[in-house]
């Protein structure tokens, strides 16, 4: 009789809501994830105020959604930006290193097949994409998660190159010079914010995914 129980557990995937204690997101993933939320929030909102001081396009961000009131003028925004950049960078390095070393990136994000992306995107847009098994990412998720990690790397490198364009002039040159690096930095931000809009919306639409990122399963 007890062997039946053992079989039931091995056949049943993590779908079983009680009993099977399969961790979807280990603690290091959850910690780096939420740390990143804080870092990103500060970087984006202070970055918007820095942008406003010297806009690249014919618009500025409403000051109410930017931060940096602790000091007058642009100083507050710059101080926040150059403080949170450490949190973002260190946390990012830890996350990417552990992701690669633990094999998590390989297991969760690869392979990405274009045919599957099209199929899953179609399913997502018609509300038919299943989220039964949170431990396996669908193709759209893989593209978005891999994409935002790359955008994060680009935004940090372009940011460093516009922070120190003389000492890191080779890096700035790689982005096409100081002026071009500013645009790269902006478009990487737009990519990340676009990702955030989709990501947060989906997390709210599929609450068990939010729970998984808070509790692990």
């Amino acid at each position: 009789m007890s062997s039946e129980t053992a079989d039931a557990k091995s056949i049943d995937p993590p779908k079983v809501s009680s009993g099977a204690k399969v961790v979807i997101h280990p603690r290091w993933v959850r910690i780096t994830h939420w740390t990143n939320v804080v870092a990103m929030f500060v970087m984006v909102t202070s970055g918007w105020r820095i942008y406003n001081a010297s806009p690249l396009f014919e618009f500025t961000f409403p000051p109410e959604i930017t931060i940096g009131d602790a000091f007058d003028g642009l100083t507050g925004a710059l101080l926040w930006h150059f403080a949170a950049m450490w949190l973002l960078a260190v946390n990012g390095v830890i996350y990417v290193s552990l992701g690669i070393l633990s094999g998590r990136f390989r297991r969760k994000l690869l392979p990405i097949r274009p045919a599957e992306v099209v199929r899953d995107l179609r399913a997502a847009l018609t509300g038919k994409l299943s989220h039964d098994d949170l431990s396996v990412y669908n193709a759209v998720q893989r593209v978005l998660y891999a994409g935002v990690i790359l955008a994060g790397v680009v935004i940090v490198l372009s940011g460093v190159s516009i922070w120190k364009p003389v000492q890191f002039q080779e890096l700035a040159a790689a982005f096409g010079g100081y002026d071009a690096a500013r645009f790269v930095h902006f478009f990487a931000m737009a990519t990340i914010v676009g990702f955030l809009a989709i990501h947060v919306t989906l997390a709210i639409l599929v609450p068990k995914s939010l729970r998984a990122m808070l509790l692990g399963r």
Partner: protein
């Protein structure tokens, strides 16, 4: 007679209970909802300053001083700003001040601005090297224009 437990022949009651439990919603889901509402209640605290401006300002300045040390480590005095051929200059030269163009002095406007900019770039480059004595222009007028230019357009 005490309440009789229905015994269904051929069914292990322990396994039956396990199967029944699987049909029940996960209790941690209720905990999650409760936790989420408490978290939502905390947002009402936005009326209060969890970190007051003063603490934030002090922390930011401390990190800024740390950044200064990092910048000192990065700094290499022999690494100068890249120079560009004249053909690479945008014409008309874009206005780079953090103040509106109307606030610029007449001396720094239009072509004088471009010439002063290029001379001052070259001059500040030469001053940065040990060869400044050999290459520094002796034109006092240029020195005056550079001083005015740099003080007018340099941000903090």
């Amino acid at each position: 007679m005490p309440k009789a437990r229905k015994i269904i022949p051929g069914v292990d009651p322990k396994l039956l209970i396990k199967d029944a439990a699987k049909l029940l919603p996960d209790p941690s889901r209720r905990l999650f909802l409760r936790g989420a509402t408490s978290l939502g209640a905390i947002t009402f605290l936005t009326g209060c300053d969890i970190v007051d401006q003063d603490t934030a300002a002090k922390a930011l300045l401390t990190i800024s001083r740390f950044n200064d040390r990092v910048q000192a480590l990065i700094f290499n005095p022999n690494k100068l700003a890249p120079t560009y051929p004249e053909s690479a200059i945008t014409r008309p030269f874009p206005f780079n001040g953090y103040y509106p163009r109307s606030a610029a002095s007449s001396r720094t406007k239009s072509r004088g601005h471009l010439r002063s900019y290029m001379h001052c770039r070259r001059r500040s480059r030469l001053r940065g090297t040990s060869a400044s004595k050999a290459g520094a222009p002796s034109d006092r007028g240029l020195a005056r224009r550079c001083a005015t230019f740099l003080s007018a357009s340099a941000p903090t």
